[in-house]
């Protein structure tokens, strides 16, 4: 099987909320000092989904990442987990795009890779929380898409996907090639092995510039955007929590119970 996984480098979403800062002049996030970016967690789960299929069926996993200032230690993580190839769409022309221009470039890169049975993406990136690029790639490539998957099973040219819903899951069947977006319900991504880390260190990513994928400059990055972000801001928090105390934890709990009943919050 030929599998392609699209991954995005994002600011670490597990960084403490207090360290999150915005520069209002540029409408951009100020990276918190000392916190390295990561592969968006849902994208790591997409890599895990690909690895599970490779374990079961064999094949090749090609990872594609689009961005600027891509830290090699970060974007090589899928290689250290067991992926085979890493392609970086790294150029200022790709920068500051939206779902539209990002999907356009990734779809062109996927076409250039050529042979593929499944394209995996995370269900949404941890920075924009949009969840559009996967479906958009499928639309551009003209292939079916199944979003928010937690289990994927391939039999010959058919694929069966468990898609997470509000009250359980749907079992969806479709044919290959297909694009699937992966959710956290898939389970934890595997750790990189020492052997994997060593192999990833030796492997140099392939870099494709816009001309390499035949991209029209007007469609790329900031130039190709269809939406403009007018403002990025942090909501103001009131922070007026009343701390309920007592002689000990049990006493504090009893006092809390009294407060809740007195305030008529519970009846």
């Amino acid at each position: 099987m030929n599998i392609i996984v699209c991954v995005k480098q994002v600011p670490d979403p597990e960084a403490p909320p207090a360290s999150f800062k915005i520069d209002p002049a540029t409408n951009k996030v100020i990276p918190p000092p000392g916190v390295a970016p990561v592969i968006s967690p849902f994208d790591e789960q997409a890599v895990e989904a690909a690895l599970r299929l490779k374990d079961a069926k064999g094949g090749k996993i090609t990872v594609i990442s689009l961005g600027t200032n891509l830290l090699r230690d970060v974007v090589k993580k899928p290689l250290s987990m067991g992926a085979d190839e890493l392609i970086l769409l790294e150029d200022p022309a790709y920068a500051d795009g939206d779902s539209w221009s990002t999907a356009y470039a990734l779809a062109l890169a996927i076409k250039k890779v050529g042979q593929f049975d499944i394209v995996f993406c995370g269900r949404q990136a941890a920075d924009t929380d949009a969840g559009q690029v996967g479906s958009a790639i499928a639309e551009i490539l003209g292939i079916p898409s199944v979003t928010v998957a937690k289990k994927i099973e391939v039999n010959d040219s058919k694929v069966k996907v468990e898609k997470v819903t509000a009250d359980g899951f749907d079992v969806i069947e479709t044919s290959l090639p297909v694009l699937i977006t992966v959710s956290n319900e898939l389970g934890e991504p595997r750790y990189a092995t020492i052997k994997g880390i060593m192999a990833a260190k030796r492997k140099e990513p392939i870099i494709w510039k816009p001309a390499d994928i035949g991209a029209e400059p007007a469609q790329l990055g900031a130039a190709g955007k269809r939406l403009a972000m007018l403002k990025l801001f942090q909501p103001v928090k009131e922070g007026k929590c009343e701390m309920v105390t007592g002689e000990n934890e049990e006493d504090a709990a009893a006092n809390l119970a009294k407060k809740l009943v007195e305030a008529k919050l519970l009846s």
């Binding site: 996967g134 928010v148 479709t174 044919s175 939406l227 009343e242």
Partner: protein
């Protein structure tokens, strides 16, 4: 293609009626329609949905497009994208609204690319800019740490809206509206996915989304055993038990109990956050609660910034004492 005018809401259904999110979309759509001086329409897509049209009109729609076809029984990407595309091309739309739901998350991006337009997902505020008639769409980003306002020049605007972010109108059975039946015109061969099975894993008792009291446990609960205490308190308060993402990912509780950005959005009167640090991704699911009560060992935990009352302590000591005292005070 018809002129880009009016608001089109893509409806969803629950037990043969409009789903709450659809009434919220019609409420939001009504306000936008007023500001634009353009009509509000609802698309009822499915099988046997014709009878729901009067409810859509009572909830704010001026026009209801009913698209019925056996091929539309279950939501399937290819079929529903094709139907909405057809409606937009035949009748036009300036703004298309869907819920940030299983359906809307899947439908909106693909539809946007089909129409060579753009979608903005998970909006919590929508407004028309006076003069330019541009739609300003506000959505949380960075896991809820920040909010962004988007707009664009490409029509139609496509936005999905977060559950419980908008107010529905009080239903008015006296409102007038027009019902238009539209043929789906689908080619069965072009629908590339099939739904083999729909599995419902709903937890017994009151639904999380409907409960007036929710008691949720987090990573600090430490394992499935501790959730018995969470469920016991929820039961005493006639509420529902929930969880942040780590207990679900660790398999301590079912995934359907997850409250958060990628789980359920709840807005109960009282939300107990027990051993939950208060990550932005969790607050995206419970931030709309009227009162958050935080119980956490770490006095610096972010959840206290969101809470009305807080107790710093070990849940293993706090929870049993809280339950016992409430048992006594509430007389049950």
């Amino acid at each position: 293609m018809a002129e880009n005018k009016g608001i089109l809401v893509v409806a969803e259904f629950l037990n043969g009626k409009l789903a709450p999110i659809t009434k919220e979309l019609l409420g939001a759509g009504r306000r936008l329609a007023q500001d634009l001086g353009e009509p509000l329409s609802a698309a009822l897509i499915g099988e046997g949905v014709n009878g729901i049209a009067p409810e859509a009109i009572a909830s704010g729609a001026d026009k209801v497009y009913v698209v019925e076809d056996a091929l539309l029984k279950d939501y399937r990407t290819d079929a529903y994208v094709a139907v909405v595309e057809k409606l937009v091309k035949e009748y036009g739309a300036r703004v298309i609204l869907a819920g940030q739901t299983t359906m809307g998350r899947d439908l909106a991006p693909r539809l946007a690319f089909r129409l060579s337009a753009a979608a903005t997902m998970d909006c919590i505020d929508l407004a028309i800019e006076a003069g330019s008639k541009k739609l300003l769409m506000t959505k949380p980003v960075y896991g809820g740490n920040a909010r962004a306002v988007f707009t664009g020049d490409v029509l139609p605007y496509i936005a999905t809206v977060r559950v419980k972010a908008m107010a529905a109108l009080a239903p008015d059975a006296g409102r007038n509206g027009e019902v238009i039946n539209v043929a789906a015109g689908l080619d069965a061969g072009a629908i590339r996915t099939s739904v083999l099975q729909k599995v419902v894993q709903e937890v017994a008792g009151i639904k999380l989304e409907d409960a007036a009291v929710v008691v949720s446990g987090g990573r600090g609960i430490g394992g499935p055993e501790g959730f018995k205490q969470i469920e016991s308190l929820a039961k005493l308060l006639k509420g529902a038990a929930g969880a942040s993402r780590p207990p679900c990912d660790s398999g301590w509780v079912p995934e359907t109990m997850q409250v958060g950005l990628t789980g359920k959005i709840v807005s109960p009167d009282v939300y107990f956050a027990v051993a939950i640090s208060g990550s932005s991704q969790h607050l995206a699911g419970c931030g709309g609660s009227k009162n958050i009560i935080a119980i956490n060992r770490d006095a610096e935990a972010n959840i206290f910034k969101e809470a009305r009352f807080g107790v710093v302590g070990d849940w293993k000591k706090v929870l049993p004492a809280l339950e016992a005292k409430l048992h006594e005070l509430l007389g049950r």
